[in-house]
């Protein structure tokens, strides 16, 4: 568990944040560029000195402004992965990977072995290469391995995919998922891309102008209106989480979310697996009667919670689907009037299975 409470002033910009990140799991720090994310990473890592606050990992106090205590960055054992990888250009991949490992005290136990890291991140064919002979995605994988081999108590990933194009991003993301699921290390993942966060994180800390504006599990934060300012109106939608109930005859995964079952297309789904699904508000149809003969796979009984004005002539309807799970639906104000939607009204939410993308989370093995 990481607990952070930090203040730092740099010229006009003031950073004042408090959040925690559980072990294991990925906590995303989400915010637009310039909101202080990278500064925050430097402060947690000890590369930059805060003005005040506390940084605590498990029971170890690494920084305490009140007691003038600050553990040097080199003793904090935080696995930092930077946006630009920062591999040592004069060393081969193997030496890069072992740089931190060789500097660990003999007394430190080293559960994360060289072969584990090489296997997990698929680095076997790269060991004798030099950084300039690697692609952007390979560099980030080596940087992840280098951080892991230093036996970190915490991983700090500072937009590790930001410098990569879309194809490379897809190439690295599965490795990040494997990393998340393989080790019981808290991971702080800095990003400004909600789709990455959706795939990797279970907790989201929303940052704006150096402050935490929302903090909680991804389902809660996904319904926060302040997220809209960061992701844009087209990406507004509730994130719901559930477990794979069964795989239907057509090979689609049936995921239980709240009292509802959602049919989702999902590769390699395993029964019991935890799935995170973003249901975009613009993909949800609201009906007061259940239509017959319709292609829509998901017909979910729901109760209207609230109706709020949205962009243009539309409104955003929050729908309760049971057990604190809610969906967001964007419909025109006119449709809302014609259907006479109001709080507590019972409706049906219709969602095409093909518009849903599920992201699997394995249960950590260690």
């Amino acid at each position: 568990m990481l607990r952070v409470e930090l203040q730092k002033r740099r010229g006009e910009f003031a950073l004042d944040v408090a959040f925690s990140a559980p072990t294991p799991g990925v906590t995303a720090l989400l915010g637009r560029s310039g909101c202080g994310k990278s500064t925050l990473i430097s402060l947690i890592a000890g590369l930059l000195l805060p003005d005040a606050g506390r940084v605590v990992v498990d029971d170890d106090v690494l920084y305490d402004g009140a007691r003038h205590l600050s553990v040097d960055a080199r003793h904090r054992r935080m696995g930092v992965v930077f946006q630009d990888a920062r591999l040592f250009p004069h060393l081969a991949v193997r030496a890069n990977l072992e740089y931190g490992a060789r500097r660990l005290a003999a007394a430190v136990s080293k559960p994360i072995g060289f072969d584990d890291v090489v296997g997990l991140l698929g680095l076997g064919g790269l060991l004798e290469r030099r950084p300039h002979q690697l692609s952007g995605g390979e560099k980030q994988r080596v940087a992840l391995g280098r951080a892991l081999r230093a036996q970190p108590r915490l991983m700090l990933l500072d937009e590790p995919l930001a410098s990569l194009d879309l194809a490379r991003r897809e190439e690295v993301l599965p490795y990040l998922e494997r990393l998340r699921d393989a080790f019981a290390i808290p991971i702080v993942y800095v990003s400004h891309q909600f789709d990455e966060v959706l795939r990797l994180a279970t907790r989201v800390v929303l940052l704006d102008s150096g402050r935490v504006v929302a903090d909680g599990d991804i389902a809660t934060v996904s319904r926060d209106t302040r997220l809209r300012e960061i992701v844009g109106p087209d990406s507004v939608g509730a994130v719901v989480a559930g477990h794979v109930e069964h795989i239907d005859a057509a090979g689609l995964a049936v995921v239980r979310v709240g009292d509802a079952e959602l049919t989702v297309e999902l590769d390699d789904a395993v029964v019991g697996q935890r799935i995170q699904i973003q249901v975009l508000a613009r993909d949800v149809i609201v009906a007061t009667e259940l239509p017959r003969a319709i292609s829509v796979r998901n017909r979910v009984a729901a109760r209207v919670v609230s109706i709020a004005p949205d962009v243009g002539r539309s409104v955003l309807v929050e729908l309760d689907i049971g057990r604190t799970s809610t969906l967001l639906a964007r419909i025109t104000a006119r449709a809302s009037q014609e259907l006479e939607l109001a709080s507590d009204k019972q409706v049906w939410a219709l969602i095409k299975a093909v518009s849903l993308r599920g992201h699997a989370f394995s249960v950590p093995t260690r």
């Binding site: 040097d72 960055a73 696995g79 930092v80 250009p89 931190g100």
Partner: protein, 228 residues
Amino acid sequence: MLSNVESEALWLSLSIAARSVLLNLPFAVLVAWLLTRTRFAGRTLFDAFVHLPLVLPPVVVGYLLLVLFGIRGPIGGWLHDRFGIQLAFTSAGAALATAVMSFPLVVRSIRISLENVDRGLEDAARTLGAGPVDRFFSITLPLIAPGILAGAVTAFAAGLGEFGAVITFASNIPGETRTLPLALYTALQTPDGDPVAARLAIISLSLGFAGLLVAEFLNRLMRRRLGR
């Protein structure tokens, strides 16, 4: 192929230049590091002082060395009484004079590569458990190696031709301090010395040319190693 006088002058030149470079490097790295990485009072003054040999007439440098390092000078006297080391009028002194003259060149070269080192790499090393000295030797020094090498080669090449400071501080002693340029100068002062001077000039020319080629080769090798 070479006469005794010529080969003697050639080897002396090479030896003095090489020794001057070895003397130079550790101090040059230190001074370059101080100038790029630290802020202290009088830094600008220190910077100017380091660069003085570039703008002073070499004879003045030689004279100042004589004042400081001569047998009766404050440093030279101490060295002589304490360790029996004499610098003035010896080849060691010639190496010292050559080192002082080329020092700003080496500092400049190392400083430029130090300024180009990505500090982010040092930060990364720090998060991986490397202390300041460790970071310098494992990251910074290998990254500035091309700059150190370039500085060393330039200093060596310039050192082969150092004249004013050497003749003032170490005099023109055959077999001790009579390097190629001093031998050439001596030949010109001698009646019928012109052919000797011409041969010495050709040797100097070939040496300089070879030096530049070697420098370029080493530079490419280094860059390839760093993947630039």
